[in-house]
């Protein structure tokens, strides 16, 4: 199979967007679900959360941050080219019905994943506050898109370069202390960010949903690599999640599991299969 990239757009130096032709997935996709892709015969299977979908056009959008071998290689695949595999939608959709006032928190790339949740909540008539955080103002993404689907948008930067210095947790705390009463907080971003959002909301007793993105292979419950400890029980992020009750996650174990293949990732980047100057067609010939 081949899945054509109909649009590619650079959002900041480390983050880009890809809109991919995948009509069967676009027909079923819901916020919170993910896809698994493989660039070519040599590629890993890597999960990416669905950032947007267009049922009529039959496309699914993913937003990718360059962090390792696969994402670096993916950045080299241009608009008009195709990915070898693109499967989904996987995981359970985030339950959003019935929520009246929600704070959606996105940290860095997590902002991209928080976007479809905010969009759906907004369309369901909920009062949506979006809080996003970035290291500096050059890394800010999706500001206009988020403004369009929220009642209030707060963008924070670690260094204050956009004029609003602080972490997302500082912003959330300020909102809660100023009297905002949220039914639920949805937090998506780096594990450490989600952990601290949960610590904060626990104090105020606000139910908090987080989106886990561990290493996995199949995404259908087969490998068990994506084990997450939730409330003392082992869950598979791919089929039981990826969303879980953030107050029940064993963050310490999740962070340690996240580092299992770190050394290999480094090696793969240094001496791994080089795709520069090659097309998928050539790869298939050698497969």
């Amino acid at each position: 199979m081949a899945y054509k990239i109909v649009k590619k757009k650079v959002l900041n130096p480390q983050i880009f967007l890809m809109e991919v032709e995948a009509p069967l997935i676009a027909k079923k996709a819901e916020p919170g679900q993910f896809i698994i892709l493989r660039i070519d015969e040599y590629g890993e299977r890597v999960p990416f959360t669905i950032a947007d979908f267009d049922r009529e056009k039959g496309t699914v959008t993913i937003i990718v941050q360059i962090v390792g071998k696969t994402t670096k290689d993916l950045a080299e695949v241009e608009e008009g080219a195709a990915l070898l595999d693109f499967a989904g939608p996987l995981g359970m959709p985030t339950p959003l019905e019935g929520l009246k006032k929600v704070a959606v928190i996105g940290g860095g790339l997590g902002t991209a994943i928080a976007y479809p949740q905010a969009k759906k909540l907004h369309s369901l008539g909920a009062d949506v506050t979006v809080i996003t955080g970035f290291r500096n103002k050059d890394l800010i993404i999706l500001e206009d898109e988020l403004k369009a689907v929220s009642n209030k948008l707060i963008v924070a930067t670690d260094d204050g370069s956009n004029g609003n210095q602080g972490f997302v947790t500082d912003m959330l705390k300020k909102e809660i202390e100023s009297g905002e009463r949220y039914d639920e907080v949805i937090a998506i971003g780096p594990l450490v960010m989600m952990k601290f959002v949960c610590k904060l909301t626990e104090q105020y007793d606000i139910p908090t949903t987080v989106s886990m993105n561990p290493v996995m292979i199949d995404g259908t419950g087969m490998c068990g690599g994506c084990r997450v400890t939730v409330g003392g029980e082992t869950k598979f992020a791919c089929v039981d999640g990826p969303d879980f009750d953030g107050h029940k996650i064993d963050w310490d174990s999740a962070m340690k599991r996240g580092r299992m293949f770190a050394d290999y990732e480094k090696r793969s980047c240094e001496e791994g299969h080089c795709r520069i100057g090659r097309t998928n067609k050539e790869d298939q010939k050698y497969a």
Partner: protein, 463 residues
């Protein structure tokens, strides 16, 4: 006069200390001379007891008689009458529990090497004869097959031959199911499986990879919106069981599915040429005693582990793996820690497993399965230094289909309930077979179920 040699012609194979460092096939197969000599050991019994031991009733004495005459292609065609995948079955069937267990020669001596002969003719055919694929006349009916493992491939082949338009849906990016992701290259070369799949495609079977039935498309959509006249579910037993022990989420603890999929399907043994890594430490413990455990242990050895242990709670007699796999594993230096059961995993500050505690067991009274129940010996705990664990204690069917398909009855183990003779489920026009019905079993049983279901589907749709 039959050849009265008392033992089987030995199987040529790579030397244990060479092969435990490579992923090439362990056994290299009989030569023509060996095959003819072995075939002559068959007494051609009138009662054909061997056939009763075969789940797909291969006409064993007949194909062996052809080998004895040097008519290898005729022997191949004879097997193909009832078995779609002889090259696979000759390699992975537990012959000692099936055909060969019934062989009259086996009563006092060694049975005829039926599996080795089956493999020989399949390989001979593949090497010497170009398959002429005939595309059958279409009969205008459409059948969807869920899963492209041994059971799904059998249904697809049998129905395509009768003119059905068959579409096979596979969740992974490669067709073949457990033959591709589970069984390692050194036991079942992937080219062999690929050849069978290519032949099905040439016959007109449409294989759609990257489609997860129960997620991408629902079973009801196949029947109601996409115009399929029947659906066969052969999605296997892909959900790994864990033991629920302390420390099971530590880094370095894999399910056998993850470990083997990384190696086989993702070609992790060729990292970094291929992007998917597979971590293997110095001391590896594989938990379980089946074929999957043997595959995992032997793969770990090949990836450079110094000590590889099979930790199994019963004794050697009870090991469920094929006899040949146990024998090969022993030859390759796998250490068997029998009558031992893990009780917990111990990790370091970084979250990596460093030790495993086991308790020694003894065999008590027989349990429901007829095997003697292992009972822990109090105070016999022992700690083993290990840095990798592969949990290979079994798999159950994936719940994605049963959770999304109304009217499809399943049992308490999550297996689809299907009629043994026909594969018919509680849902109209839906059939099922293989591991999704039986729980994890063998390739040949899955193929047998597929064969029966193809027959029943044909009967229903042509009524």
């Amino acid at each position: 006069m039959p050849n009265m040699r008392s033992d089987k012609n030995p199987m040529p194979e790579q030397c244990p200390n060479v092969r435990n460092k490579n992923f090439l096939e362990v056994t290299t197969g009989y030569t023509e001379e060996m095959a003819v000599d072995e075939a002559k050991r068959c007494l051609n019994c009138k009662t054909r007891p061997c056939m009763q031991g075969c789940p797909v009733s291969v006409k064993i004495p007949e194909f062996i008689a052809y080998i004895a005459e040097g008519e290898f292609e005729k022997a191949y065609q004879k097997i193909k009458e009832t078995n779609a995948l002889p090259a696979v079955c000759g390699r992975v069937c537990p012959q000692e529990k099936q055909c060969e267990s019934k062989c009259v020669r086996g009563i006092k001596q060694e049975s005829v090497g039926i599996g080795r002969l089956e493999r020989f003719v399949a390989d001979w055919h593949m090497k010497n004869v170009e398959d002429k694929i005939e595309v059958p006349e279409p009969n205008g009916k459409k059948v969807a097959v869920v899963g492209s493992g041994p059971s799904g491939l059998t249904v697809a082949g049998d129905l395509a031959k009768r003119g059905y338009k068959v579409t096979v849906f596979e969740a992974f990016h490669t067709a073949g199911g457990v033959l591709m992701y589970g069984i390692p290259e050194f036991r079942l070369p992937k080219d062999i499986v690929q050849k069978e799949i290519d032949n099905l495609r040439a016959m007109g079977v449409d294989i759609q990879t990257d489609v997860i039935i129960g997620k991408t498309i629902m079973v009801d959509e196949l029947l109601d919106e996409m115009g399929y006249d029947a659906v066969y579910i052969g999605s296997g037993a892909g959900l790994p069981s864990f033991m629920g022990l302390e420390g099971e989420s530590l880094n370095g603890v894999y399910s056998a599915n993850e470990f083997l999929t990384r190696i086989n399907l993702m070609k992790g043994y060729k990292f970094p040429e291929y992007d998917t890594p597979v971590y293997v430490g110095k001391n590896v413990a594989v938990l379980g005693g089946g074929n999957v455990a043997m595959d995992a242990a032997r793969s770990a050895k090949r990836l450079g582990a110094e000590n590889v242990y099979i930790v199994y709670r019963r004794g050697k007699e009870e090991l469920p793996a094929r006899a040949e796999e146990v024998h090969h594993a022993e030859e390759e230096g796998i250490i068997f820690k029998l009558l031992q059961n893990p009780t917990k995993f111990i990790g370091n500050e970084d979250g990596w497993v460093t030790q495993m505690e086991v308790i020694h067991m003894e065999l008590g009274e027989p349990d429901a399965s007829g095997r003697r129940r292992p009972v822990p010996v109090e105070g016999s705990e022992e700690v083993l230094d290990i840095d990798t664990v592969v949990v290979a204690i079994g798999q159950t069917p994936n719940p994605l289909i049963r959770k999304t398909t109304k009217g499809l009855d399943t049992n308490s183990h999550g297996c689809i309930i299907a009629d043994e003779e026909t594969g018919k489920t509680s849902k109209e026009h839906v059939y099922a077979g293989g591991d999704v019905v039986t729980g994890a079993a063998t390739v040949i049983l899955a193929m047998g179920a597929g064969k029966a279901a193809a027959e029943a589907i044909d009967k229903e749709l042509n009524a």
